[in-house]
């Protein structure tokens, strides 16, 4: 069996049976970014409850099937249009940054490429730089993707504290992948029906750009989506005759290499010192 990691899936919106099926297909870990709930939340306390769900409930649900659950924290790009609420949410994120399954700040980004979204994106990046966190980036969908991705990369490049190897630009497609890779960032390709990429096109992209700093994910959520999209990609790559070690690199080793940069990664022996430095940076 090919073991894999799904580095972007919204398990809060999936039934427990999905965890079981994913485990049966070889999933060993997932990472779940904070996202839009399907409605615009009315207060920062709503996010406090959501973050609690991500750091307490989902890890237990995943563990029933031998899957390790990790998460990211932020206010998503869609709700970032509300600047006042966004600043309240950003202010409470540090309360959760010492939880063991938190990987960093994400999925931050742009939705319709508005000025408010860009403002809050930069303030999230500022928090991530002050607390030395990994960053996971949501690039917009459909017609907004190219423009929004370029704007995001402009903002990242403008902040000298940003180290590209600690940032993953997600939902890349044919017209944005090279911009992200050339900038030294990690990339994620999202295998999601109609509005994003397919396993076949993802295999094409990897054949063109190689296997360094690139991953695939399902971004399974409330919409019509497939939590087994990564196994479908594995199957497509095998269908084309690509060797197992190449496939494993994309679906397992690359996500692991990116995640283990997190200061809270289990094999990090300096966790206590890094937590202390983070608290000093916020004082």
């Amino acid at each position: 069996m090919s073991y894999y990691i799904d580095p972007h899936i919204h398990m809060i919106s999936r039934v427990t049976d999905d965890y079981q099926r994913m485990a049966q297909c070889g999933c060993v870990a997932v990472s779940e970014p904070a996202f839009w709930a399907g409605f615009d939340r009315g207060s920062a306390e709503g996010f406090r409850d959501y973050f609690r769900h991500l750091v307490e409930v989902e890890p237990k649900r995943a563990a029933q099937f031998g899957i390790r659950h990790y998460c990211w924290l932020c206010i998503n790009a869609k709700e970032a249009e509300n600047v006042r609420l966004s600043r309240e949410v950003i202010a409470l994120i540090p309360e959760y940054l010492d939880r063991p399954n938190v990987l960093g700040i994400g999925e931050i980004g742009l939705n319709k490429n508005t000025r408010n979204e860009a403002t809050i994106f930069q303030e999230h990046v500022d928090l991530a730089m002050k607390t030395d966190e990994l960053v996971l980036i949501h690039t917009p969908h459909l017609e907004d993707k190219y423009k929004g991705t370029r704007m995001i990369l402009d903002m990242l490049k403008n902040d000298r504290r940003v180290r590209p190897e600690r940032v993953c630009v997600d939902h890349v497609e044919e017209h944005t992948v090279r911009h992200a890779l050339d900038g030294g960032y990690w990339c994620g390709m999202t295998l999601y029906p109609t509005t994003k990429c397919t396993p076949e096109r993802a295999a094409d992209i990897i054949e063109m750009v190689g296997t360094d700093r690139i991953m695939v994910n399902s971004a399974g959520d409330w919409g019509k989506s497939n939590p087994l999209a990564v196994p479908e990609f594995i199957q497509e790559m095998k269908r084309r005759g690509h060797p197992d070690d190449v496939i494993r690199k994309v679906v397992h080793d690359n996500p692991l290499a990116f995640f283990r940069q997190s200061k809270r990664w289990p094999d990090d022996g300096k966790q206590e010192n890094k937590s202390a430095r983070k608290k000093a940076a916020l004082a």
Partner: protein, 83 residues
């Protein structure tokens, strides 16, 4: 990484290409059967531009079709200033 040889890729994906072209043809027919006209809608014009990309013999068609359906990026856009 070595892609499939052209002949093999054609063998494996011909039926899928045929199916997707049929779907597209059916969608265009469906638009055409409806009352009113959609010819001047920018989305129909983008579909036509995308079809032209498919027709030419050069590579990078997927990326160029993506650009047909993308908003333009202005390198001179103004970043918000930090608080």
């Amino acid at each position: 990484m070595t892609p499939l040889p052209a002949a093999e890729a054609l063998d494996r994906y011909f039926l899928e290409a045929r199916s997707k072209l049929l779907d597209l043809a059916a969608i265009l027919d469906r638009i055409g059967r409806g009352s009113g006209a959609a010819d001047t809608d920018s989305r129909v014009q983008r579909i036509r531009q995308a079809l032209e990309v498919l027709q030419d013999g050069s590579g990078g068609r997927a990326e160029r079709v993506q650009q047909v359906f993308s908003l333009e990026y202005d390198a001179g856009w103004q970043r918000p200033q930090p608080r």
